[in-house]
Structure formats: C-alpha cells, structure tokens
C-alpha cells in the first residue's frame, strides 16, 4: 500500500545526481578520517574534532534538543536484492526470527517499487520514517509511543500495554508487535524487546547517543544512507538536501518524515 502510494506521489521526481552524491560522500568520509586522526592525538581534542554528524555526548549527558536527526537515502545507489542494511539492523537490534515466521518483528525492509505507467523501478529501504508529526504518538493511550526532543520516535516499552493502536495509525507499516518471548541469546543490551509490546526502529538511539551513526547506514556498502542533523545547516545531510531534490514517502499526509529519498518512482 505504502509503496504504490509512494509511486503515485512522487512520479515527477526523476533526478540523477550520482556524481554529486559521490563527491559529498568522499567529503563526508574525509571529515571522519580527519577527525579520527586528530582523536588519536589526545582525548581532549576528541569532541572538537568530531564531524558534526557524529558529535558525541559524554556518558550521563542528556540529548541536544536543538538537533533533529534525519536520513537521506540515495536510491540511485541502492540495488535490488542487497539486504546489507536489513542484516545489519537484525544483528544490531536482535529481531531476527525463525525463517518463515508470520509474526516476525521487522524494523527495516527492502522494497522494490515500480511506476506502472513508465516501468521505472527503484529499490529502497523502508523503516520508521521518524515523522515530525507522528500519528503513532497521537493515538497512544499511555504515552508509550513517544518522540524524543531530537526527533527520534520510539516506543517506551516500560509503559506500552500492547494495544497496537500505533500500528493501525502508522501509514508506513513501520511498527511490529512482539508475539513471542525473546530467548536470552537474541536479546540485545541496548535494544530490549519483549512479548506483548510494540517495537520499531529507533534510529539506533543507543548509537546516536554515543556519537555513532545507525547500524544500517554504517553497513551500506554504497554509502547510500546519509545520516545527520537536519537542523544544522552545515551538516553534510543539510548540504546535500540543499543541492538535490529529495522526497518524503506520502508527503501529502503532512507527517514531515525525517527520512528522505533522492528519487522515487
């Protein structure tokens, strides 16, 4: 449903800016490399030297409410059949289930979309869209479905009662319900998940909080996923968004997604 709606919405979006995207990626990697070198010199320079995308908080420090985390996904680089981001997410957050299970938890999936009018196809990862106006947060009766001040939308499983209203409300089918007990070996320390709660992508909040980028973005072999602060005009993602057209899935809903795609059928 989402995929077809998306294709109708953004048919006017043909834009190939692969060369520009490459340049930005190189620059981004250079920033990171430079920061790494400086950080080797001494712990004190570490925070000053870190690139804006990966500014670290010290342990015990709260998040920065001025930030709004977002992601730009370059669909020109994303190939059909590659599931590296999905695998990385499964490994990081421990939601891999038995093959063939119909009650899988799913934080991210690869979707192949096609414009029926022209036959143009694209492959893209779809996860929680980290909306600025999240319908899931609106409907939650206990306040468990919540938005952090830095824009990350997540489920506070301590107060989730498993009513699944948020799953009904989400236009992106981004949420899943945990039907079975999670065995000890599948539990992840930073991503607790248990039977009877709704769960979904949280932009790897534990990684973001310690200055790292989400596991999917780190795993992408093409560097197609650019993570960063949308509110900072100097961040790599903001610079890219200024240069090239990008689209939100079902922008007509007014949810103002934090995840943007460069090209959609």
């Amino acid at each position: 449903m989402t995929e077809h709606s998306a294709s109708n919405e953004t048919r006017k979006a043909p834009e190939s800016a692969a060369a520009e995207m490459d340049a930005a990626r190189r620059e981004f990697m250079r920033n990171i490399a430079a920061a790494s070198v400086l950080s080797l010199g001494g712990g004190l320079t570490l925070y000053a030297a870190a690139p804006r995308e990966a500014l670290a908080k010290k342990p015990g420090e709260p998040l920065d409410p001025k930030k709004r985390w977002g992601m730009l996904i370059d669909t020109t680089k994303c190939t059909s059949g590659c599931e590296k981001c999905v695998e990385a997410c499964k490994k990081e957050n421990g939601w891999e289930a038995e093959p063939g299970s119909r009650t899988d938890v799913q934080w991210i999936r690869k979707v192949d979309v096609k414009d029926p009018a022209t036959g143009f196809m694209a492959s893209l990862p779809v996860m929680r869209q980290h909306c600025a106006n999240p319908p899931c947060v609106d409907v939650c009766p206990t306040g468990a479905s919540m938005q952090r001040a830095d824009g990350i939308v997540q489920v506070n499983m301590h107060t989730c009662i498993g009513c699944r209203y948020c799953m009904m409300a989400c236009p992106y089918k981004a949420r899943s319900f945990v039907h079975e007990d999670i065995p000890e070996e599948r539990k992840r320390f930073h991503a607790p998940m248990g039977k009877g709660c709704v769960t979904s992508c949280n932009f790897c909040a534990h990684r973001v909080d310690s200055g790292r980028i989400p596991a999917c973005a780190e795993a992408c072999p093409e560097g197609a996923m650019l993570f960063g602060d949308l509110n900072d005009p100097n961040s790599a993602i903001s610079q890219r968004l200024k240069e090239i057209p990008s689209y939100q899935i079902r922008a007509d809903l007014g949810t103002d997604n934090g995840i943007r795609y460069t090209r959609l059928p």
């Binding site: 990171i32 950080s39 908080k57 342990p59 015990g60 506070n156 039977k195």
Partner: protein
C-alpha cells in the same frame, strides 16, 4: 520494694529482648548479601540505602534514558550488571537471571518479589565496544573505527 523489684525485672527483660533484636540486626545473617566487585569502586549509594532506593534510582534512570537519551556512567544498567556480575564456577561465564546466584535473584528470591525487567532486558553485561574490537581483531570501516575509538576513550556508553 515490690514495685521496684517488678520494675527491675521488666527492665532486665526489656534489655534482653533489645539485645537479642540488636544481635540479629548486627549479625545480618538472615538477609542475603548482594555480591559486588568492590575493586571497580563503590556502588552509587551505601548498601543500606540501596536496599531501599534501588528501584527509584532504576526508574529515574530508565526515564532519563528513554526521554533524554542519558546513557553510560555509574548509574547505567550496564554498570550495575558489570559490578554485580557473578561468574559461574564451571563455565566461568556470567550467570543469567535463570540462575539463583544472579545478584537480583539473591534478594528477590528471599523477599519473594518477582520483577519482569528480564523478560526484555539482557541480564548479563554486554561486551563494550573495546572488548568487541579486541575480540573481532579488526577495526572495521573508517566510521566504525572512529566510533570504536571514541567508545574506548569514553569507557563505553552501551546501555
């Protein structure tokens, strides 16, 4: 005279009872002791206060992490599990909540309080970025190495 003798007897009896109560309280043999590795430093509060306050500290920290993204440091769950870890004698691995030796169960079994933290949370400490790096024997990509180095400098912020 008779009244004085009665009073003395009562006082003596009271003293005996008081001494007995004090003796039990001081011996502390009845209440289980929570295993802790003091070489990693003191707990966030002294033991007698932790007995009363640990649930409040945990809940406060839980909300701080969920809403404000506060992670790592001495009050993190990772830190609790690291200092209070009990290793299995045969395997040498940290025991999970399945074992009655797990530091939570030591007291909670005694007081017959069942908590459901561990149906979602992992009950053994997770290896830090540094440990993972040493175990992998590789540094991964540029971004990953940077992150791992930072994790090393910060002492890890996994919770």
């Amino acid at each position: 005279m008779r009244a004085i003798r009665q009073g003395m007897t009562a006082a003596l009896l009271g003293g005996v009872v008081f001494a007995a109560v004090l003796g039990v309280a001081q011996a502390g043999d009845l209440a289980p002791k929570v295993p802790i590795d003091k070489s990693k430093g003191d707990c966030v509060l002294p033991g007698d206060q932790m007995r009363k306050q640990h649930m409040n500290i945990l809940m406060h920290r839980r909300d701080d992490t969920m809403f404000n993204g506060v992670r790592g440091g001495k009050r993190s769950l990772q830190a609790c599990l690291t200092c209070h870890m009990v290793k299995d004698e045969t395997t040498g691995k940290p025991v999970t909540i399945e074992s009655p030796k797990h530091f939570c169960r030591v007291c909670h079994d005694f007081t017959a309080v069942k908590v459901d933290c561990w149906s979602c949370h992992k009950s053994v400490p997770e290896e830090t970025a540094t440990q993972a790096m040493l175990k992998d024997g590789k540094l991964g990509g540029t971004g990953s190495m940077f992150a791992r180095l930072r994790g090393f400098v910060q002492g890890g912020a996994n919770d």
